[in-house]
Amino acid sequence: MHDLILYIQSYLDSDRTPGGAGNLFWATVYILLVFAGLSVAVIAMNWLERKILAHMQVRLGPMRVGPHGLLQPIADAIKLLLKEDIIPAEADAIVFWVAPFIVVLAAFTVFVVVPFGPTHAITDMNIGILFMLGVSSLSVLGIVTAGWASNSHYPLIGALRSSAQMVSYEVAMGLAVVSVILMTSLNEQSTGTLSMIGIVQAQLSQGEWFVFKFFPLGLIGFFIFAVAMVAETNRAPFDLPEAESELTAGFHTEYSGFRWSLFFLAEYSAMIAVSSIAVTLWLGGWLRPFPNWLNGSTWELVFALFPGVTFLLLGVMCFYNTARMPKHPLFRIQTIGLAGFGAVLALIGLILFIPEVRVRVVDIYWFSAKVAAFMYMYIWYRGTFPRYRFDQLMKVGWKILLPMGLVLLIATAVLAMRTEVWVGIVVPLWQWFVGILHSLVSSL
C-alpha cells in the first residue's frame, strides 16, 4: 500500500509527461482522465449553453429535470441512446456507420498533446501543434463521408459546404499559428519549437504571452485564429452547414439517436480542442495572469487559491439558490439535490485548498479557466450574430483573413529575424504615436 502511494507520488512529482517518460501505464491513466474530463466538460457545456443562451434571450432554459435543469443533459443522453438507430435504406451503410466515428476520433485524438500543465499532458510531441492541426482537420473526412453516405440532397450540400469552409479556414488558421511558431524562436539558440509545452515555456521565458508580443502583431494573429476557429468548428455565425432555416440540419440530417449524439460530442470537443490551441499559443497556456505585475510569494499564494475559491463560490451559489427554491413539497427533492450539489462543489473547493493538492491543480485550473472563457464566447456569438451567407463566409476567409495572415506572417518573420528593428524603430514609433494620441485626447 505504501509502495503504491510512493509510486503515485513519484509520478505526481515527475517533471515529464507520461508519454515523454515512455510509461504506458500512466499514459493510459492520463488518457482515461482526459477522456472522462472531456465528457464531463461536454455535458456541462451542453447545460451551460442552454442556460446562458436562455438568459441572454430573456427566458429560463431547462428547469424541469433536476434543480435548474442540471440533469437535463443526462436525460438527453439517455433519450438519445435509447432512440432507434435509423440507417436510411438508400444510404451507404458502411460509410454511414463509420463517418461519426471518424469525427469523434479526430476530435478526441488531438487531446493527446494538449498541455494542461508542464507535466499534465498525455505526451509532449515534438510536432505538437502540427499534430493538433492535422488531426483536427481529419474531421472533415468524417463530415464529407457522412453527407455523402446519407444519399440525400440536403446532407450532401451541407457536407460540401462544411468541408469547403473547414478547408479554407484552415489556411488562415495555419498562417496565424506559424506566426506564433516564429515568435518561439526568439531565444539564444534561435530555435523555435512546435511542441505545445515548448510554446508555453517560450512564453514563460520571454516573460509575455504571445498575444501581447510585438503588439499589435500577436493580437492580430490571435484575432485571425479566434475567427478561424469559430468557422472551423461550424459554430454561429459560421454555422452554415447546420443552417436550420436553409438546410434543416446539414450533414447530419439523416442521423438519429446514438450516431447523432456522436456528432454532437465531436462538435463540442472540437470546440474545446481549438480553444485549447488558442490558449496554448497566445494566452500562455497554464501560466497565471499578471506574472510580472503581481509577483512575489504573496501573490503566488493568492493566485494558487483561485481554484478552491472558484469551487467554493459555485457551492455558495448553489446554496443561495437552494434558499430561493419554492417551498412547495413537490420541490423538496430538487431542493435537497441542489443543496447536495452545492455541498459537493464546496467540498471540492475545500480539498483544493490543501497545499499538496493546490500546487498540482493550479496549472490545470488556469488552463481550464481560459478555455472556459472561450466557451463562453462561443455561446455569446451564437446569441448575438446572424448567420453569414456562404459566399460571404468564403470572402471573409480568403479575402480578409488570408491576406491579413500573410502580412502578419511576413511582419512577424522580419521582426523575429531582426529584433533590433522592433526595439529600435517600431517601439519608439509606437510610443510616439501613442503620445500624440494621448495629447490629442487630453487637448479635447
Partner: protein, 377 residues
C-alpha cells in the same frame, strides 16, 4: 413570367444537371405551408415557382353563405397575425355599402387597436425574419414585447390572436376601465425596446451583409407587380393608403410615411422599424384625443345593403388589404373578393430572388412578410 420548365434542365457547371429543390411545404423557413420549387445552379437561383393552396379554406366562398355579420369573424382567420386590421377593412367596406359611418369614439379606438396590431405584426415579422437569417435572440425579445400588446387585446375583447374586435357600424365593447392607461404604459414601455432591437441588428456587420443588396426590386417593377405596403415603400414609392386615400380617421393624425431608396431587404427592414415608431406616434395622438360619445352607429339588426358593389381597401401591416363586395340586396353577400397583400407581394418573390443564392431566398421570404393564411385564404 413563363412557368418553370422542369423537364429539360440546362447543363451547368461540371455538366451536372441543374438542381431542382423542393423547399417546403414542410420547411422551417417558409413561414407556414408555402412550397417553393427552386431551380438551382449550385447555390445560385435560376428561377423559382411558388406552389400555394396548402392552407386554402375557401373563405370567399364561405362568405356567400353567411350574412354580413356572420362573416365578420372569418376575416380574422386570413392574416391571423394582424386580425384587427382585417376586421377593420371588412367592417369599413360593409359600412360603405350600407352608407353608415362609425361614431368618432369608435373610430379612435379602432385606430388605436389597429395600430397596436400593426406593431404586433411587425414584431412577429422582425423576430422570424431575424431567425431566418440566423439571429435567434431578436425573436425572444419581440415575443416578450408583443405579449404586452396581446394582453391589451385580451383585456379589450377576450381574445389574443383572432380578436373579432370590431362590428359593422362601430364596436361591440366599450373600452375597458384603464384602457388608456394601459396603452400609454405600453408606449412608454415600448419606445426603448425598438432601440434594443435596432441595437442588435441595424449596425450589425453580418446583418448588413446579409440584407444589403439582397432581394432588390425597383419602384416601377414593384408597381407593375402590384406590390404594396412596406415592400413598395422601401423601393422609394411613397404610397400609403392612410395618407393617399385616408380611411377611418387617419387624416386627423400627424405621422410620416417612411420610404427607402434601394428597395433591398435592409431598406424594408428600416422602413418597418420606422413604421413601428410612427404607429406609436399615431397611438399617442389617438389616446390623447379619444372623444366621449356612442360607440355604435345605428345599424339595422338584419342588414340588407342596397344592390350594388363596393371596393374598400386599407393599409394593413403587410400592404393594401382590399375587400370587393357585391350585394344583391339580400342578407348575404352575392360575392366577396379579398385582395390580400401577402398574396400579391408573393408574386415578387421570383423577381427578387433570380440570380441570388439559396440563403437569400430565405431572407427574401422573410422580408416579404407573408402569412400563408392570407395567401391561400
Amino acid at each position: 413570367m413563363s412557368p418553370l420548365d422542369l423537364e429539360t434542365p440546362d447543363k451547368t457547371f461540371l455538366d451536372a444537371n441543374e438542381l431542382v429543390i423542393n423547399m417546403g411545404p414542410q420547411h422551417p423557413a417558409t413561414h407556414g405551408v408555402l412550397r417553393v420549387i427552386l431551380r438551382l445552379d449550385g447555390e445560385k437561383v435560376l428561377g423559382l415557382e411558388c406552389v400555394i393552396g396548402y392552407l386554402h379554406r375557401g373563405v370567399e366562398k364561405i362568405a356567400e353563405n353567411r350574412t354580413y355579420t356572420m362573416f365578420n369573424p372569418y376575416v380574422d382567420r386570413m392574416d391571423y397575425v394582424a386580425a384587427v386590421s382585417n376586421g377593420l377593412g371588412y367592417c369599413e367596406a360593409v359600412e360603405k355599402l350600407l352608407s353608415v359611418e362609425a361614431p368618432p369614439r369608435a373610430q379612435y379606438i379602432r385606430v388605436i387597436l389597429t395600430e397596436l396590431n400593426r406593431i404586433a405584426s411587425h414584431q412577429l415579422w422582425l423576430g422570424t425574419h431575424a431567425l431566418d437569417i440566423g439571429a435567434i435572440t431578436p425573436l425572444f425579445y419581440t415575443f416578450r414585447d408583443r405579449e404586452e400588446i396581446l394582453k391589451i387585446f385580451e383585456k379589450y375583447c377576450g381574445a389574443r390572436l383572432t380578436t373579432h374586435a370590431f362590428r359593422i357600424g362601430g364596436l361591440q365593447y366599450e373600452a375597458y376601465e384603464g384602457f388608456e392607461r394601459d396603452v400609454k404604459n405600453f408606449l412608454t414601455f415600448f419606445a426603448p425596446k425598438i432601440d434594443e432591437y435596432e441595437e442588435l441588428l441595424t449596425t450589425n456587420r453580418i446583418w448588413l451583409e446579409r440584407t444589403k443588396g439582397v432581394g432588390v426590386i425597383s419602384g416601377p417593377d414593384a408597381i407593375a407587380l402590384g406590390v404594396t405596403g412596406p415592400v413598395l415603400r422601401a423601393s422609394g414609392v411613397k404610397w400609403d393608403l392612410r395618407k393617399a386615400q385616408p380611411y377611418a380617421n387617419y387624416k386627423n393624425f400627424d405621422f410620416e410615411i417612411p420610404t427607402g431608396q434601394s428597395g433591398d431587404t435592409y431598406d424594408r427592414y428600416l422602413v418597418r422599424m420606422v413604421e413601428m415608431r410612427q404607429s406609436c406616434r399615431i397611438i399617442e395622438q389617438a389616446v390623447a384625443g379619444i372623444p366621449e360619445g356612442p360607440i355604435m352607429a345605428k345599424v339595422p339588426k338584419v342588414m340588407k345593403p342596397p344592390v350594388g358593389e363596393v371596393y374598400h381597401s386599407i393599409e394593413a401591416p403587410k400592404g393594401e388589404l382590399g375587400y370587393f363586395i357585391v350585394s344583391d340586396g339580400s342578407t348575404q353577400p352575392y360575392r366577396i373578393r379579398v385582395r390580400p397583400p401577402s398574396f400579391v407581394n408573393l408574386q415578387a418573390l421570383d423577381v427578387m430572388c433570380r440570380g441570388q443564392l439559396v440563403a437569400d431566398v430565405i431572407a427574401v421570404i422573410g422580408t416579404l412578410d407573408i402569412v400563408l393564411g392570407e395567401v391561400d385564404r
